[in-house]
Amino acid sequence: MAGPMKMRATLAGGYTDVRVLMTHPMTTEQQTKGQPHFIQNLTVKVNGKTVIEGEISQAVSRNPVFSFRLKGGAKGDQIEVSWLDNKGDTNKTETAVA
């Protein structure tokens, strides 16, 4: 079920701009008659250190796109984003700051 993820991390004058796309149905209770399927947790790591932890609900749109900003940063920093949904599916993607 875990579809592909896409991520881009670029230096933007003093901070690093991270954009990540997750492929996920993100269905709600209303849409599924009480069997929602949505991402609950996401984690952003820089060079192995957790910097952002998110908890999200079924009200986040299908195939969610998130933007984050990291202090400073340098070319080559390793960014990792992972998610976990309410059915135990999980996925992650890594990229280097360009």
Partner: protein
């Protein structure tokens, strides 16, 4: 003697299990009570932030009119020094709490998400900084059917 050894093994096994399970549970922390709340007041109570003072330091960038309630871009920036978390709620959604982000050293208190909105509603953002809570709201009109009203 055999009895004792068996007991010891069980105890060791239990300890090992407890040790293994704990970090897993911590990884999957998800505030079910808050996310199942049907009003934002209840959700905020479950998050431990029943009150927050209004602040101009929280910027909410979002369209005034969203034609498609299924994808409403909401961008939040906190200019309050020492912001450690940002909470986004859509007041009139069946479950108002949309997202909560915790920022550690290295991250800026900024986030952009796409949210679903059932109808025209206030979007409320709560930021925590230095043990205090601040909030800002912005109304987003939703045109269901996407006719651009």
């Amino acid at each position: 003697m055999m009895q004792k050894r068996r007991g010891l093994l069980h105890a060791a096994g239990a300890l090992l299990l407890a040790g293994l399970l704990k970090p897993m549970a911590a990884l999957a922390a998800w505030n079910k009570a808050a996310f199942s709340s049907k009003t934002s007041a209840e959700a905020l109570k479950s998050l431990g932030t029943p009150s927050a003072e209004a602040s101009g330091g929280i910027l909410i960038e979002a369209p005034q009119i969203a034609e498609n309630g299924a994808v409403v871009p909401i961008e939040v920036t906190s200019n309050i020094p020492g912001t450690t978390s940002i909470v986004v709620l859509v007041e009139k959604n069946p479950y108002p709490l949309v997202a909560k982000f915790e920022f550690s050293e290295g991250a800026l208190p900024f986030v952009k998400i796409n949210a679903k909105m059932g109808e025209t509603s206030d979007v409320r953002v709560i930021a925590a900084a230095g043990g205090k809570h601040y909030q800002a709201t912005k109304e987003i009109k939703v045109t269901i059917g996407g006719c651009g009203g």
